[in-house]
Symmetry: C2
Subunit: 325 residues, 2 copies
């Protein structure tokens, strides 16, 4: 759109520290200090990832936060972002609020917005985020070993309950509803935890597709299976919020948009990992153990296997999509 330059100047030109050049040229110029760059890219589309009438400040926050979460999951440090924003029309109130949310997230996680593009079209935002990490400290998905413990941070499942509240399919008490909506709209990437785990975790990723689905990614990359312990899953907090046990199970195991960290670490580091959670005042749940094989088994307190088939999200390649024309 012709007003592109003006929109960038008005809304996305706050002072940038840590870049040679940001804005007003063909490219931004950056001076990385560390050995390796971590790069991630995420798009939020109106109607798919958020609702057109969601609070624009929340959309701005989340647009960046989901990428910060990927950087956290590599144990990297976020540095520079570009924003590609596609707008059906120029609505200054929406843009101002979106920019507020985006810059709030940028400030919270030390990100400099160094460039981007503004175009006319259906509402969507793409962030590409660059982080830095010493090459040997980056934690990939494929390093887990049989016997490693599996951990998840914080409280997975709240975002899924928040989505159900927003869609009107779940009623929760006001305070619980607010907490779940906040988890959905203002995810808090576990950046400090990711960096603490740099030399401890053998494999790590962030939970965006649901715990079971993302566990599947980690295990496939590491060529392992796992057992999960039903009694160790963080269901209680969701039940205390008013969810049924079944709803809590579904939300924890298959709910998306959590942006918690899921990681494997040697059992010998159990106490050290636990202590990291204490240091950060962030609950860390040891929910299972990697094992050889290709399957994920959920075991109850008596060691009996509980069927996992009921938890949607685990099958993330539905054949109709895969082969559809």
């Amino acid at each position: 759109m012709n007003a592109e330059f003006d929109l960038i100047r008005r809304y996305f030109s706050r002072p940038v520290a840590g870049a040679l050049l940001a804005g007003g040229d063909d490219c931004a110029l950056l001076l990385p200090q560390q050995q390796a760059l971590a790069v991630t890219c995420d798009t939020l589309v109106a109607g798919t990832h958020f609702l057109p009438d969601d609070a624009p400040a929340d959309v701005g926050w989340k647009t960046l936060a989901v990428s910060v979460s990927d950087i956290a999951a590599m144990a990297a440090c976020p540095r520079w972002a570009t924003l590609a924003l596609t707008l059906p029309e120029v609505r200054h109130d929406w843009l101002a609020a979106f920019a507020e949310g985006l810059y709030a997230c940028a400030k919270a996680y030390g990100v400099a917005l160094v460039g981007g593009d503004t175009t006319r079209g259906p509402l969507a935002a793409t962030v590409t985020l660059l982080g830095e990490v010493p090459q040997q400290r980056a934690v990939r998905r494929n390093g887990a070993r049989a016997g490693d413990e599996l951990w998840v941070s914080g409280q997975p499942g709240r975002a899924a309950l928040g989505l159900q509240c927003a869609q009107g399919t779940l009623a929760l008490p006001d305070e619980a509803r607010a907490a779940c909506l906040a988890a959905l709209h203002r995810p808090q990437p576990r950046l400090a935890l990711g960096r603490l785990l740099a030399v401890r975790a053998t494999a790590m990723l962030d939970v965006s597709d649901g715990l079971l689905a993302d566990l599947g990614h980690l295990l496939r990359a590491s060529k392992l299976g796992a057992e999960l312990w039903l009694d160790a899953l963080p269901l209680a907090a969701l039940q205390q919020m008013g969810a049924s046990r079944e709803q809590a199970m579904q939300a924890v195991l298959a709910g998306g948009d959590d942006y918690e960290l899921l990681f494997a670490a040697p059992a010998s580091l159990h106490e050290e990992v636990r202590q990291a959670g204490v240091t950060l005042s962030l609950p860390l749940h040891c929910i299972g153990r990697c094992e050889t094989g290709e399957t994920v088994r959920l075991l109850d307190g008596a060691g009996q296997e509980v069927a996992l088939g009921a938890f949607a999200g685990f099958e993330h390649f539905p054949a109709t999509e895969q082969e559809g024309a």
Copy 2:
């Protein structure tokens, strides 16, 4: 979409050289060799930047080429790209052709596709491209000095005529039509030229909004005005293709999507710059000169000023957009 991982595996997972890690993890990991990184980001939206029934291979090529052009305009070397692709539905024929075009451009300019995101929504593609450049060799927009000559590469205006052909508002002979459509759909970023100009040009950008509009960006950044020489504008080739003199003027001065390089260089380097064009078999046109002041004057062969007001594209901040709600 749930089939995201499968789409990436099928279409966007070709072998990557020059990255520590690309695909299949939270981030790509890169090892820059040069001091500074150049970063640029561009979105192409169906209906705004291309037509939904444009050849998908062309859309794939152009999606990357427009960013390569920005890297070229910094005198940098393109290295790594992320692709955020939003699709209304999974159409394998479209995706296969889009990927062919994208990878053809990547191969032509030495770019490795290292990551991205695939989402469901209205058709659009965003590329963020990282390039490398020794810090002191990057050419910005703001370094032009009064007396510097102004040059433009290749043949600006062909893409604008191509767009008119595609829209049915201009009829050209078959060969000319094909050349103009190729310029529109398969822009050839001037990467080799940009790098040759690294220590010669004082300011440079790529012509994407039209020559006059982009000249305005360069001059504002450099706090200068300029005179342009009518007789030096590359109109003849467009007229030989069948455009009227008026159509050729409009296309050269105000047509968008050219992706030629517009640059300022000291008059003392005139012969050296000319020789660079000979070396690359790429016409370089010396079209004017920077001068103090804030205005751009177009002068005819007798030194008389020719009105520029008629050339749309120069006014790129229409008030209705700027203040629109």
